[in-house]
Symmetry: C2
Subunit: 238 residues, 2 copies
């Protein structure tokens, strides 16, 4: 459906975009990682022109921060930004669920259940990266049930940025959604209890948010240390 036809060239920039997007969302590129154009263009075997195009797209989605004359780096969501993102997700995703009055096709519910099962399996086998990715896909597919492409794309972008938040503020344990909560939402939808599903989603997203550690963000530590080193000049910098 979203794949190219047979004879169409593979769209180099799309491939690079997908690679970088995945690398960021899967925490292979941690927040704050610098993304020099030369390095990327050499790695992917293209010119800086193509790399810049991809970086600008990622910047537009909030996954990459670009400062003039200072290059690109993986975005480091601030605490305020993180809270805003989750607040917006609550409004959007709950609103989407609340609007689903028509009975959901059984096939769609089934594929959602399969997604939750895969997520559960990944979590059980300790595959944290897959678990987070599948959890995100669940939220996106849920939004897609509305048939509203604009809304679905917005949720997808917020989910991607949430991966950055988890990478920055997530505690090693219990960051991912408990699969049972996802299952509960499907059950409520199967019962056509849209309001119930929305209410449950509200709690679910709040639960995720509460599981984050706003106090000890990993990357702020570096900034703090740098500030300490700059201030306490009498101390040993080495």
């Amino acid at each position: 459906m979203n794949k190219n036809a047979s004879a169409v060239p593979p769209e180099k920039d799309e491939v690079i975009y997908a690679h970088l997007h995945a690398a960021i969302c899967d925490s292979k590129l941690l927040p704050g990682t610098r993304l020099p154009e030369d390095t990327l263009s050499a790695s992917f075997g293209v010119s800086r022109t193509v790399v810049r195009k991809v970086l600008q797209r990622l910047a537009c989605e909030g996954l990459v921060a670009m400062r003039p004359n200072r290059g690109a780096q993986v975005a480091e969501p601030s605490v305020n930004e993180a809270r805003d993102i989750f607040a917006t997700r609550r409004i959007l995703e709950c609103g989407a669920l609340a609007e689903m009055q028509n009975p959901i096709p059984a096939a769609k519910l089934e594929s959602l259940r399969a997604l939750v099962e895969a997520e559960d399996a990944a979590q059980m086998s300790g595959n944290r990266v897959d678990a987070i990715r599948l959890s995100g896909e669940f939220h996106i597919e849920l939004a897609a049930l509305t048939g509203n492409l604009v809304l679905t794309e917005m949720v997808a972008k917020l989910v991607a940025r949430s991966s950055l938040i988890i990478a920055t503020y997530g505690s090693p344990i219990a960051v991912v959604c408990r699969h049972s909560e996802h299952e509960q939402i499907i059950d409520l939808l199967a019962r056509s209890d849209a309001a119930g599903a929305a209410a449950w989603m509200q709690e679910h997203l709040l639960t995720i948010e509460r599981g984050l550690r706003w106090e000890h963000p990993a990357s702020d530590l570096q900034e703090v240390l740098r500030g300490v080193m700059a201030n306490a000049r009498g101390g040993k910098a080495d």
Copy 2:
């Protein structure tokens, strides 16, 4: 606050972006208008590199459609996309209003009233472009009351795309919000009746949507004619 400091260069691409954005939202560039890179770069006195950067940003926001090897043109929102955009606005903007529990500072309410007044004045004097723009600004400022920057930016992008929808499907009369409805929302907020404001906003957005003419979109006409000409080859094409 958001302006550059004194000695900082004016950021050429930002200026070009602002110009194009305004031209599209003010319907100076109608949906479907082709945007050749050469023409733009000549007009603005920069190279295609800068123009492409701006076009990609506009494409990311949905104001411009870029097809591979086929260039950019002002986006022509389909009926489905238009409905999705308004549905998403209902969820986002009503959700934003519903979450405002704290009493709104009087100063902010005052500046909102000023905005409505300016919009009213523009409409009364037949200045349709200003009226639409000020109406959009009202919706954006309303979202900004949440303090949620992520949400505000999303609303701003949806409002911009709504300008395209109005340009495509808007009837010559009665496309803009009745200013009294905007005033009513402010009154409800002043009374701290968040739920009431949200309900009113829901109706308000539905009213706008109902005022559009989905039957006779101006630019679909060309497509229809093209299809007719291609099919009825025996008929008179001239």
